[in-house]
């Protein structure tokens, strides 16, 4: 029936035609009509404004297009607002927009628990950075310090809980924890330096909080790595080629970013900071080379450790360069030899390898990052036998690279000496 009906319908028009006679007559009528009603002379010369008005009139008649335009305007204005509020600090009028609207909006776009956890860590970093900015200006009030400190704790707790939901990605959590730990350790150094320059209980308190978080994250990294490697039998390579490659890529990307960051912020760094930063970059680059050598000999586990250490060093360096260029808090040259606040002379081999400050932790403290530890033992041996990295690394590096100049790698400007009496007791904590 269906096909028959449709076939029948298609046959309906076949019986009717206009007919030649009627067609000719109609054509002649229309020809006369065209002669009688000529086209207006200006018709084809439409001005741009007329075209624009016509276009807008046409557009506004279509609700879908109007909605789309409204959406574009909304996005554009939101983007402008986002840009304007990105650098807002507690106390600024746009700060409420930043943390109350834009950040939750961006957070809502993340889907997986793992991505949400990463976002929480990003938020924690933002809060720490805000606190560092205020502290460097001497405007970190006790209320703001307490609020930011609480926010950081909450963000980190949220991240931990979210990672717990996604047990399949414990490796992601381990990497994220290690990275966050490095970042917080670096910020702790920045706070320590600020406190040295302008002692303040708020800065000291924030420093303590950061140190505690960094320690907890390091412990978490240790636990997670132990979990990952436990099922494997002794003698088996504990690291897959994929993990090694991923760690290598991440380290290389971070180092490349540091190079850019250094070249862009060169003008704002003091000579000694610049030298120290390049020395650290060289050390981190050496760690990647070290990892490559391990990988070539088939020890992918040691190679991964080396790459992860390079990444940790790069993460830390990123924070320190940022603090030196934007906040004018110079911890780079200070970090090269001593930890200013703690008044602990750092061990040269550990710094030569760009290892995080946790390797400098006194042995009586239980929190030693596994990543740093493994590399410091492995790479120290190897690199100590190798020529001085600063004399062989980066033969093609820019001239600014201290390895190619006669300037000593160890910066001449030593950190401000701080008498233990001037340091709040709470800050006598290792990073």
């Amino acid at each position: 029936m269906k096909n028959d009906l449709e076939t029948l319908l298609t046959k309906m028009s076949t019986t009717e035609t206009l007919g030649e006679e009627r067609r000719v007559r109609m054509r002649s009528v229309l020809e006369e009509y065209t002669a009688m009603r000529p086209v207006r002379a200006q018709a084809e010369r439409r001005t741009f404004s007329a075209l624009l008005v016509g276009f807008l009139a046409g557009v506004l008649r279509r609700p879908a297009i109007v909605m789309a335009l409204a959406f574009i305007v909304l996005v554009a204005s939101t983007s402008t607002l986002a840009y304007a509020s990105e650098g807002a600090l507690p106390g600024d009028s746009l700060y409420a927009v930043k943390i109350g609207v834009l950040e939750p909006l961006r957070g809502a776009l993340t889907r997986t628990p793992s991505a949400q956890a990463q976002w929480q860590m990003t938020l924690a970093t933002k809060r720490v950075d805000e606190a560092a900015t205020l502290a460097s200006r001497g405007t970190l009030s006790s209320t703001t310090q307490a609020q930011l400190s609480s926010d950081v704790s909450q963000n980190l707790k949220n991240a931990h809980d979210l990672f717990a939901k996604d047990s399949a990605h414990s490796e992601d959590e381990s990497d994220a924890d290690a990275s966050m730990s490095a970042r917080l350790s670096a910020y702790a150094m920045v706070f320590a330096q600020i406190n040295t320059d302008h002692p303040s209980p708020e800065v000291a308190s924030f420093h303590d909080a950061l140190t505690a978080h960094a320690t907890a994250l390091t412990q978490s990294t240790l636990t997670l790595e132990a979990k990952t490697t436990a099922p494997l039998t002794e003698g088996t390579s504990t690291t897959t080629a994929d993990t090694t490659e991923r760690a290598r890529r991440a380290a290389q990307q971070s180092l490349a970013a540091i190079k850019d960051q250094l070249s862009q912020g060169q003008d704002q760094l003091t000579a000694s900071s610049s030298i120290a930063a390049y020395a650290k970059l060289n050390d981190a680059t050496d760690l990647v080379r070290e990892g490559d050598r391990f990988y070539a000999t088939g020890d992918s586990s040691a190679a991964t450790d080396a790459f992860k250490n390079a990444l940790t060093a790069a993460t830390k360096l990123n924070v320190l360069i940022r603090a030196a260029t934007l906040l004018k808090v110079d911890t780079l040259s200070a970090d090269a030899t001593t930890s200013p606040l703690l008044n602990i002379t750092t061990q040269e081999p550990a710094l030569k390898h760009g290892t995080p400050p946790a390797t400098q932790t006194p042995s009586d403290l239980p929190t030693i990052p596994a990543v740093s530890e493994s590399v410091s033992t492995k790479s120290t041996t190897t690199i100590s036998n190798a020529p001085n990295p600063s004399s062989q690394a980066h033969p093609s590096s820019p001239k600014k690279n201290p390895s190619e100049t006669d300037t000593p790698v160890v910066p001449p400007k030593l950190p401000v000496s701080v008498s233990p009496a001037s340091i709040p007791p709470t800050l006598h904590v290792s990073l």
Binding site: M1, L5, S13, E16, L18, M26, L30, T34, A43
Partner: protein
């Protein structure tokens, strides 16, 4: 300045006048009215050009005008009996008898009767379905072309054809057509 436009206009007449007439004749069931509607369609198209506007898709544009004129004409005049159209064509039957055998002629006439009945049911359809069915089966338009003529989305055009066909099928069943 008139000449190129006039040439284009008359070219469109040569290309589409027949099919427009078929469409109109099917819709209004009156040859003279259909002829007038087609002529009015082209006059309106020329008026449009005369205002300095451009016609990019002649076919869709002309059918759109014609469709509006048909709807207007429905309002002005009660539709004539569809039977009048076929009964008004005795020459057509005579011609069939002259050119074909008796059995063949009977088969053709059976089909014509069937068509006549289906057409009577088409007039009972809501206007939007009737237009869509006519454009689809009588004029052989694709859903995309129907959408352009009626200035609706392609989906809406397809839905109208589908629903029109379903209703027509129900009407045919009710009247005993299998």
């Amino acid at each position: 300045m008139n000449e190129p436009l006039k040439k284009e206009f008359l070219g469109a007449f040569d290309a589409f006048s027949d099919s427009l007439y078929k469409h109109a004749a099917f819709r209004v069931s009156d040859r003279e009215r259909a002829s007038d509607l087609v002529q009015d369609t082209f006059m309106k198209a020329w008026d449009y050009i005369g205002e300095g506007k451009e016609i990019k898709q002649w076919k869709a544009f002309l059918y759109h005008i014609l469709n509006n004129l048909i709807i207007d004409s429905y309002r002005k005049k009660k539709e004539a009996s569809l039977d009048a159209l076929l009964e008004d064509a005795p020459a057509y039957t005579e011609n069939l008898l002259r050119t074909g055998g008796r059995d063949e002629t009977e088969a053709i006439l059976d089909t014509e009767l069937l068509i006549k009945e289906v057409r009577s049911h088409i007039t009972k359809l809501p206007e939007s379905y009737r237009t869509a069915i006519t454009l689809r089966y009588v004029d052989g338009f694709s859903p995309k072309e129907i959408a352009q003529v009626l200035r609706v989305s392609e989906n809406v055009a397809s839905v109208r054809v589908h629903r029109g066909l379903t209703q027509l099928r129900k009407l045919c069943r009710k009247s005993g057509l299998s």
